[in-house]
Subunit: 213 residues, 2 copies
């Protein structure tokens, strides 16, 4: 194996080991030494050497998945360009995530990793940064949804976007964990899970708004 | 202070310290020794002496809050007995949680504690056990909601109930964390947050169901 191929293989082994350990034991409970060991690296400083800080490692994991997810989203958004059916736009929110998870085979760790990173105010900025590399896609997503729901005040749209994000991630976390642990899943397939989420989020997004004091 | 009062004060100090440390650093990252220290106990085995295992301690925290939350829920359900408006029932899902958090002052740690415990398959059983002490209330809640949404297949009701639970907890976690860290909150008050959640969950629950293959 050439030197650069070997470096690439080591980086990939570290990314995979880190993602699995973060998902199973928690981002804060796992140190760089454990990750190096789990990746079969004799050298305990391998994470530091290849990635830098823990935050840099988390960023590398997030980027790897974000690139693939945003590629799916771009394709789906081209397919529905100009649609004014909210369900079409909600699909572009849900299916890139579920299709990506399905493509990874089983078990996966990314949903549990993403849930933790989203829940942490510091780490969440990393996810936002990575998503910003896909800013044009996200902007045209927001514009499309706004055209479908013209009467919704901006702050309610913002509030419901946050709720939708939580729903996608938490529902996928539940299925991912059940698959990893061999316990029964609520839906037979990722596709069924996506359909249920799209129905629910479309309902949530179009719900009447109670005036607040 | 009498001996039994002193024991009660020590237990309360341990419960509060544990809840805060679990919320801020993670249930798995925090050990019994750290909790004893944070509660000002010279004896590092205080958690073991007063509660037993970590799972027993988690159960005691969950029970303390569940009792207060279920008391609020019982009162609210008496007020809406016989209603066939889904919003009334969704209120009974949302407001006991938000009113309880509001009653605790600021900052709180319970939403972040509950989110972690719900996300863990082993610990989640503790929460379910504790909720079962309130089984008659939960049963009449489910019956009420079923009467409002008679056409909804049982498996979709089950799926959406899970989504609603995630939405309540995650939305409260976000506000709780912002209040604890002094960052801007999305809604000005817990009451506004509850109104937004009730609108969204009522929409989610009444959304049309797409037939799955």
């Amino acid at each position: 194996m050439r030197r650069d191929e070997q470096v690439g293989a080591t980086r990939e082994a570290l990314l995979t080991a880190a993602e699995r350990l973060f998902a199973e034991r928690g981002v804060y409970a796992v140190g760089n030494r454990q990750i190096s060991e789990a990746a079969g690296q004799g050298n305990n400083t391998a994470v530091g050497y290849h990635f830098g800080t823990k935050a840099d490692l988390i960023r590398a994991i997030a980027r790897k998945h974000a690139e693939q997810i945003e590629r799916i989203r771009e394709r789906m958004m081209n397919d529905i360009a100009g649609s004014t059916d909210p369900r079409d736009w909600v699909s572009c929110l849900v299916r890139p995530f579920t299709e990506h998870l399905e493509s990874l085979g089983s078990p996966t760790w990314y949903a549990r990793f993403a849930a933790q990173v989203m829940a942490d105010p510091t780490l969440n900025e990393i996810m936002v940064d990575e998503a910003l590399t896909a800013a044009p896609i996200l902007r045209s997503f927001r514009d499309g949804l706004t055209r479908c729901l013209p009467g919704l005040p901006a702050e309610i749209r913002h509030e419901r976007a946050g709720m939708a994000r939580h729903l996608v991630v938490q529902t996928c976390v539940e299925r991912e964990r059940a698959l990893a642990e061999g316990t029964p899943t609520l839906q037979p397939t990722w596709d069924d899970l996506a359909t249920g989420l799209i129905d629910a989020i479309a309902g949530l997004w179009q719900a009447p708004v109670t005036q607040r004091p």
